[in-house]
Amino acid sequence: MSDHSLFGPTQIAPNCEKTVKQGGDAAKPFDDQTAPKISLRNVHKSFKGRKVLDNISMEIMPGESHIVIGLSGAGKSVLIKCILGLLRPDSGTILINDEDWFDMSIEERLRRMPCIGVLFQGAALFDSMCVWENVAFVLLQQSMPRADARKQAEQMLEMVGLPDIGDKMPAELSGGMKKRVGLARAICHRPEIIFYDEPLAGLDPVMSDVITILLKRLHETMNVTSLTIAHNMKLVQAFSDQVSMLYEGKIYAQISAQELQETKDPLIRQFVEGRAEGPIRFGFESDMSGQPGANDKEEVI
């Protein structure tokens, strides 16, 4: 573990195997390359009677980079939160590495968690900690010495184009910088499955390109499996193996990036070209009846 650079020649074993082996009752390392990393079967989720996810089924294979597109409010973030166990689906099964995490105790789930990295839509940095402590959070919790953790965090920060801000507090950063720190935090512990919730939102075009290249590199050098929510067609083209379009709670289409460009389907065309007029109905999206309420409280972690 001396060379921490993702771009360096050494291939670093992802965190997952290490942690799975540690756990006494945990399963053996998951190395089946033919079974899906993540699979959803008939997942339903509604808020106060309003269906947000309506019978979603999908599979993400090892090494695949899967992009989910859809109008804002379509339930993309809810989809990720269900997979992560932050929201409990009303029905359906979600398997990660062929295991149903909702069947497990909190401890078992937490023990498996290091194989997952998440970039939240709003970055969700801990504002009581400085930037490098945020990035190195998992390493510090795994009691890596502070100096080592800091070195690794600084390398991650450099990779996302933010050297020398390790000692700043999150409140001092711009939105785009927070997003990049969030990205560094998501990948710092070398997860093998990564969720990116709108990784390019709030970035300027140049930085968008830098991050797109970075995601692609990560994907190629570390063999990570990823689920990305994105609106940026350049990112979709550069980065995706499969694209799912979420519309009115259902997966409207699941196609390759190539097919996405060529499709004649008017609804997808409208989304890809970003036009106001077309078959997309907005009533669904602007319906605000699904505000968080008291009866949703029990399902959060």
């Binding site: 937490l110 939240f120 709003g122 969700a124 998992v138 919790q141």
Partner: protein, 256 residues
């Protein structure tokens, strides 16, 4: 109509709270048996609780002691029993005023900050982020705060008791011209250990109430910045009310 409406709203809040607090408590209890405990975080929270509340607690105590001396002088002067002031002051501070007033102050100071901190972390998805970074938010955020306030309340109350009795002494001796030796003797002569311990027991219970209510309000907060504001207000109001109710129950129980 307005009264009915506000009773309805209060009932709704109560029902909401009665669901929330046992839920939080169950989560904490389920984690009591096994580590990790995050001792460093417990220590840090203890420091924060102490630093935040010590000045207000002591100030409240000293003035309460002073007022107690003046007020009881008015009463006892009427039938010439001024020598009893000392006993009344120390008894009421130890048994009642120390824990209750410090509890109310800590509810306002610490309870509000717990609810606001956790609420902000909830609505900005920091609690979700903790979970995805392999850390149990209940262990990491809630338990250290709950433990800290339960541990610190009795300590604060001991100091407040001392300062409050000192306030009573200063006023009696220097303003009301009581004999200092008699005053000191009367302060302690009629005390029993139970007077002191019952105050500390109350303090720990009030600490538990403050910690549980304000952590639950923050942890289950929803609805953005406005939601955080509401959670904070509720944390303070419900903690304060519960402290007064629990105080009656505990007092009645100790009397038996």
């Amino acid at each position: 109509m307005l009264i009915l409406q506000s009773i309805g709203a209060a009932t709704e809040r109560l029902a909401h709270a009665f669901g929330l607090y046992p839920l939080m408590m169950a989560k904490v209890l389920a984690r009591m048996r096994k580590p990790p405990w995050f001792f460093a975080l417990i220590i840090r929270q203890c420091e924060k609780v102490g630093v935040q509340s010590l000045p207000v607690a002591l100030l409240t105590a000293v003035f309460t002691g002073m007022v107690m001396a003046l007020q009881s002088w008015v009463a006892f002067h009427r039938f010439g029993a001024e020598s009893m002031i000392a006993t009344v002051v120390s008894l009421s501070i130890l048994r009642e005023l120390g824990p209750v007033l410090v509890g109310l102050m800590v509810a306002g100071r610490v309870g509000a900050s717990f609810a606001a901190e956790l609420g902000t972390m909830r609505v900005s998805e920091q609690i979700d982020a903790l979970w995805t970074l392999s850390t149990d938010p209940v262990r990491y955020l809630v338990m250290p705060r709950l433990i800290a306030v339960i541990v610190m309340m009795p300590l604060l109350v001991v100091l407040a008791d001392a300062v409050g009795m000192f306030g009573g002494y200063v006023i009696s001796v220097h303003v009301l011209d009581q004999n200092p030796h008699t005053y000191l003797r009367n302060s302690f002569e009629y005390l029993q250990l139970i007077d002191f311990y019952s105050g500390l027991l109350k303090a720990a219970v009030f600490g538990f109430i403050i910690g549980l209510v304000s952590c639950a309000e923050g942890y289950y907060c929803a609805g953005g910045a406005a939601g955080v504001g509401q959670a904070t207000t509720r944390a303070v109001v419900i903690s304060a009310m519960s402290i007064l109710i629990a105080d009656y129950i505990l007092t009645a129980w100790i009397f038996q």
